[in-house]
């Protein structure tokens, strides 16, 4: 498709009615630059194809495609942006569907400006943590650095391993009324958004594939490849182990951490996974301690080490700073780089550029005056009303700027007086900034285009040959029409960013407009914490299935209660009580009501909603290792559990619900057995399942097939163990104890039998790492061997209550031994007390 960049494009070539209709009512804001149309209201050349394509598709088709993009995000699990708290923190990812289109020439200028800025910021960091020449020479007051809580004194004089402080730099930029771009803020601590940018691209690429291709939208993949290569190169031991250090699932950008770890092939690690020995950082894995050379840090610097940084941190790694200091590990970005994010520094950076790089800045930053200096303070006080007043170092100033930045004129008289007094008393805490007004871009609303202000985050990564800029970015679009930068820091929606490539198209073999990176997944040893979670996920999933089977069988018996079987009903109820799914003191008259309770009540610790929630919570911390489909199955189950239970028609409802839930569980099991690599993760998942199922089978057998069981009870046992059909095809007779027990306990080819579970457990233990042939076998293997022997040594009728209880006990002990050997033992961490006089 030809690019419509000829001059005559401006002479209203777009008189097609559809384009007119799209633009009707597109009212730009006075005194604000607009990305889509120029000052006369004509569309800018680089938007022509987009407009034409939208017009050609028509409103309904566009809506349909944008909905498809939303569905994609939902299915990928981006839906759970905020950590899944049980009270509905699950929000859809707010995507503004129209991408921001940027013309290539303009983009190149932005790139040059940002590369220069990244070089400047790196140089300033090197000086701040190095010999401090900028301060000594008078270019920067010491207090402008010392005031930042991210100036970490233990890092002064420490070389960043790998040669640079920054490997990832991001800047929030906006376009001013005169059309030029400005840096609004620098992001160095652990810039977030690159993963979201990638998700947005994939979603929009699916919605508008033809357009993305015909416009030659530059792909993002090369950025991530460069970033990955840059980090992998820091790995000195050559074991290729790079970890992504996350504060954990309570962090608001945890989804992105898991997503990036998965995408880049890095191990997702929490502080608890790591330990420092003799200045080397190790991951605790199921195969013992394994060295890590590179940590991509998404945990704030201050929290990285409770010994030398924030002693209250429980998320960090004791000894990490000493390991960095002695060169044992490269942490990226370096610990302490957040110091340059302080607004106070923005008052100095433009001048420092000239001094440090010998160049005038290509991109200006928002004009900033730090009130720690007398002249600047006077200036801010004089034009207080016109300026944005911000905390100089932190997000807020308690009692004064509780919500962060404000515009002087927006404050009431009393508040204004208080802040002015505070600036006079402690000017060091404040900056005044020009109230920049940002440009607007189109959003799609009700079939029309409307302008909205936005701010754009652009990412850079360090490579061997210099900084590489992500060709795109993370664009945040405001929901309101207030174009002042100060209001843009939170909320709104995000949009993809399309950089148009004017050069010859690389129509390579990649699928249209979908970013693909062929990256080899590292399959190092499984971190112990992940193994722990896989194991418990397996146990919870199996426990959910057990409970559902019990409930479904109970419901089934109730509906055909004419056949009696009172003892089998009692057995089912007591089993459910044993698992805590039913109240212990229930009146036996209405088991149906109690079955419903087991399906809905959260106050019963073994109720289905609680087990499913436990499974989902366990899964959420190993999301980087689960397929999106498996994760969605769990999310669906949990939504199912949240559906209200109708008071009337309890029985059919309970039956229907158990049945649906069982099918969803079957889907999860299918995904696990068909889609998961037979690596340690799967092994622990399955080990958990087998142990749980073996315990359940013992309990079924001793409750329903004790001495002189009724035929009804044996039939229930067969149903619970999914063995009715086998039994009936073999024995043309009513259920009798010995053959039933033989089938559900000892027949090792029956995948529901106890013996089958025990064989599987043994097989897993054989395959798990860490057991050397010559050493005496560890306790869990000895236990498993005893269990295997019991299965061989006894007849079905030998399995009386006492023997089954003994086996149950051994299985629980085995579970504990596995935990003891492979998992991290959470023990309370304390700090030494002190006496001062």
């Amino acid at each position: 498709m030809p690019r419509r960049s000829e001059p005559q494009a401006r002479t209203r070539r777009f008189e097609e009615e559809a384009v007119e209709a799209l633009l009707a009512g597109y009212k730009t804001l006075p005194g604000v630059h607009d990305e889509l149309v120029d000052a006369e209201g004509y569309p800018r050349a680089h938007w022509h194809s987009m407009l034409a394509a939208l017009a050609e598709m028509g409103v309904e088709e566009v809506n349909r495609r944008f909905q498809a993009a939303d569905r994609h995000l939902y299915r990928s699990g981006v839906f759970y942006r905020v950590y899944d708290d049980p009270n509905g923190g699950e929000r859809p990812w707010p995507l503004s569907h129209l991408p921001l289109v940027i013309d290539e020439r303009e983009w190149q200028a932005l790139e040059r400006g940002l590369i220069q800025r990244a070089q400047l910021v790196e140089a300033v960091l090197a000086d701040i943590y190095g010999d401090g020449q900028l301060v000594r020479s008078g270019a920067l007051p010491a207090a402008a650095i010392a005031g930042s809580p991210d100036f970490l004194r233990p890092m002064v004089g420490v070389d960043p391993n790998g040669g640079t402080f920054l490997r990832i730099y991001a800047a929030d930029v906006g376009r001013g009324p005169d059309g030029s771009w400005w840096v609004v803020s620098d992001r160095t601590q652990s810039p977030s958004g690159a993963g979201y940018a990638l998700e947005n691209r994939i979603a929009i690429g699916r919605a508008l594939p033809d357009l993305a291709r015909s416009l030659n939208v530059v792909r993002l993949a090369s950025y991530f490849q460069a970033m990955r290569a840059g980090l992998t190169r820091l790995d000195r031991s050559g074991e290729g182990r790079v970890g992504l250090l996350t504060p954990g699932p309570l962090n608001e950008t945890y989804f992105e951490h898991a997503y990036l770890a998965r995408y880049l092939g890095f191990v997702l690690l929490e502080g608890e996974d790591l330990t420092v020995r003799d200045n080397v950082v190790f991951v605790r894995t199921v195969a013992g301690l394994k060295r890590v050379d590179v940590l991509l840090r998404r945990l704030d610097s201050d929290y990285a080490d409770p010994l030398e940084l924030n002693p209250r941190s429980r998320l960090g790694i004791p000894g990490l700073v000493q390991a960095i200091r002695s060169g044992g590990v490269a942490v990226v970005n370096a610990v302490g780089v957040g110091v340059v994010e302080a607004p106070a520094l923005m008052g100095f950076l433009p001048k420092l550029g000239q001094r440090v790089l010998g160049e005038a800045p290509i991109l200006p930053n928002v004009a900033t005056w730090w009130c720690g200096q007398k002249a600047e303070r006077e200036r801010v006080l004089d034009s207080f009303e016109d300026l944005v007043i911000s905390p100089a170092f932190q997000r807020t100033l308690p009692g004064l700027l509780d919500k962060g930045s404000v515009i002087g004129a927006d404050l009431d008289r009393a508040h204004r007086a208080r802040i002015k007094a505070a600036i006079r008393a402690r000017g060091v805490d404040f900056v005044g900034q020009e109230a920049a007004r940002l440009s607007t871009m189109p959003v799609w609303r009700n079939g029309k285009l409307e302008p909205r202000p936005f701010i754009l985050r652009i990412f850079l990564t360090a490579t061997e040959t210099g900084w590489k800029v992500m060709p795109g970015g993370f664009c945040r679009v405001s929901d309101s029409l207030d174009a002042r930068a100060v209001t843009m820091q939170s909320g709104g929606r995000s949009a993809d960013v399309w950089v148009l490539d004017a050069g010859p198209t690389e129509q390579t073999s990649l699928l249209p407009a979908v970013d693909r990176v062929e990256i080899k997944r590292q399959t190092g040893p499984l971190p112990s914490r992940a193994a722990d979670n896989f194991f418990w996920l397996g146990r919870y999933i199996e426990r959910a299935e057990t409970t559902l089977r019990l409930l479904r069988t109970l419901m089934g018996r109730l509906s055909s209660s004419l056949e009696g079987g009172g003892s089998s009903l009692g057995g089912l109820v007591s089993l459910l009580q044993l698992w805590g799914a039913m109240p212990a003191d229930l009146a036996t008259t209405k088991p149906a009501r109690h079955a419903l309770a087991a399906l809905s009540r959260r106050d019963l610790h073994g109720s289905l909603p609680n087990i499913i929630e436990a499974a989902r919570h366990t899964a959420s911390v190993i999301r980087d290792r689960l397929s999106p489909d498996a994760w969605r199955t769990l999310a669906d189950l949990s939504l199912m559990m949240a559906e209200p239970v109708p008071a009337a028609s309890a029985e059919p409802d309970a039956y229907e619900r158990s049945d649906r839930a069982l099918r969803a569980l079957a889907a999860f099991s299918g995904l696990a057995s068909e889609n998961m690599n037979r690596l340690a993760g799967w092994r622990f998942l399955d080990l958990g399942r087998r142990i749980e199922r073996a315990i359940a089978t013992c309990r079924f057998a001793r409750t329903l097939a004790g001495e002189a069981p009724t035929a009804g009870a044996l039939d229930v046992l067969l149903e619970l163990c999914d063995s009715q059909i086998t039994y009936r095809s073999r024995y043309v007779m009513v259920e009798s104890r010995a053959p039933v027990l033989d089938l559900v306990l000892l027949e090792s080819v029956n995948p529901r039998s106890l013996a089958y579970q025990i064989d599987a457990i043994m097989a897993h233990l054989d395959q798990l790492p860490g057991h050397l042939g010559d050493e005496p076998p560890p306790p869990e293997e000895r236990l498993a061997a005893r269990l295997v022997a019991s299965m061989r040594a006894f007849d079905a009728l030998d399995f009386d209550d006492a023997r089954l209880r003994e086996i149950e006990g051994q299985l629980m002990e085995l579970s504990n031994d596995v935990a003891e050997r492979y998992f991290i033992h959470r023990q309370p961490v304390e700090t030494p007390w002190d006496l001062v006089s």
Partner: protein
């Protein structure tokens, strides 16, 4: 004045601690007015890792890792330190506090002694409007910096009760301020919070006090464990001056400096993380004995 210092800090734990990491700041270093003749430092049980280094503020820090399960942890310091008083400053001659504030925010020294590090809120000392307002009474416009700081120190001494039961090592400054009671750490934190609230630099100093008073004088408060006081910055020319609000003393030769920083969290004598100790019991014994006369400089004998 030359002192012989013995300090033993002993922890006993309810449960055996399998692994512990400690950051110990219990070794005095030479600094202006202070000469370390000899020092000896030991811990039990024997650590598997021992790294001695200096922190940003120039204090000696020892990182240790212990992997022997233990229910007792002991740290012992012995040191002989010579303290000489600097020239006495004339409080009335120090610059006006407003000028000190301006000099501090425009200071061009990034090093450890720069006032810039000591004028902002710090981990254990947030700014508090109530403390700032109370402090401001000592600083009418134009008052010389040191005169104001001494007045503030005396007000704390007079209006606050020394009471070890009122607070513990984690008590926030504002809480002790509202109680009008506490120990040396609380008084130092309150004084620091007040000075910084006015934009004035103040540092936290930990160290030792002579145990026995000179003949005819009262025993000083705070000699039973690690003591703490404040150092205030009085402008480029006069520099730092130690003030002890617990005893209303201008620091001269009764104090031996162990470590200095922004607040207690920078100088905590024994920090770290340990696993599963359960209840901790702690005992501290300190002796700071002035030597009768200048002894010959020789090695300390081990205990």
């Amino acid at each position: 004045m030359i002192y012989d210092i013995h300090q033993t800090t002993a922890y006993s734990y309810a449960h055996a601690v399998p692994v512990a990491r400690h950051v110990v700041r219990m070794v005095p270093v030479a600094r202006p007015g202070q000469r370390v003749v000899a020092s000896h430092f030991a811990v039990e049980p024997e650590p598997v890792e021992w790294i001695e280094t200096r922190d940003f503020f120039g204090n000696t820090v020892v990182h240790i890792r212990i992997e022997t399960p233990h229910t007792q942890f002991r740290v012992r310091t012995r040191a002989r330190v010579e303290v000489t008083a600097g020239p006495a400053l004339d409080p009335a001659a120090s610059p006006a506090w407003e000028a000190v504030r301006e000099a501090s925010s425009s200071c061009l020294d990034p090093g450890p002694h720069s006032p810039a590090h000591h004028m902002f809120p710090s981990p254990a000392v947030p700014l508090s409007p109530a403390i700032t307002e109370w402090t401001a009474k000592s600083f009418p416009p134009g008052r010389p910096m040191l005169a104001g700081a001494i007045d503030l120190m005396r007000r704390i001494y007079e209006e606050f009760t020394y009471d070890p039961r009122a607070t513990d090592v984690t008590t926030p400054a504002l809480e002790a301020f509202n109680l009008r009671a506490g120990v040396c750490q609380d008084f130092a934190h309150i004084m620091i919070a007040g000075l910084r609230g006015l934009g004035l630099p103040a540092a936290y100093v930990s160290g030792f006090l002579r145990t026995e008073p000179p003949p005819g004088k009262e025993r000083l408060q705070g000699a039973d464990a690690t003591h703490a006081w404040v150092s205030v910055w009085c402008g480029e020319e006069d520099g730092w001056q130690g003030l002890d609000p617990t005893n209303a003393l201008i620091v001269a030769t009764d104090h031996v400096v162990l470590a200095n920083g922004r607040d207690y969290s920078d100088v905590a004598p024994i920090g770290g993380v340990l696993i599963g100790s359960g209840k901790q019991k702690l005992s501290v014994e300190v002796d700071v004995i002035p030597m009768p006369e200048a002894p010959p400089a020789r090695e300390l004998e081990p205990d």
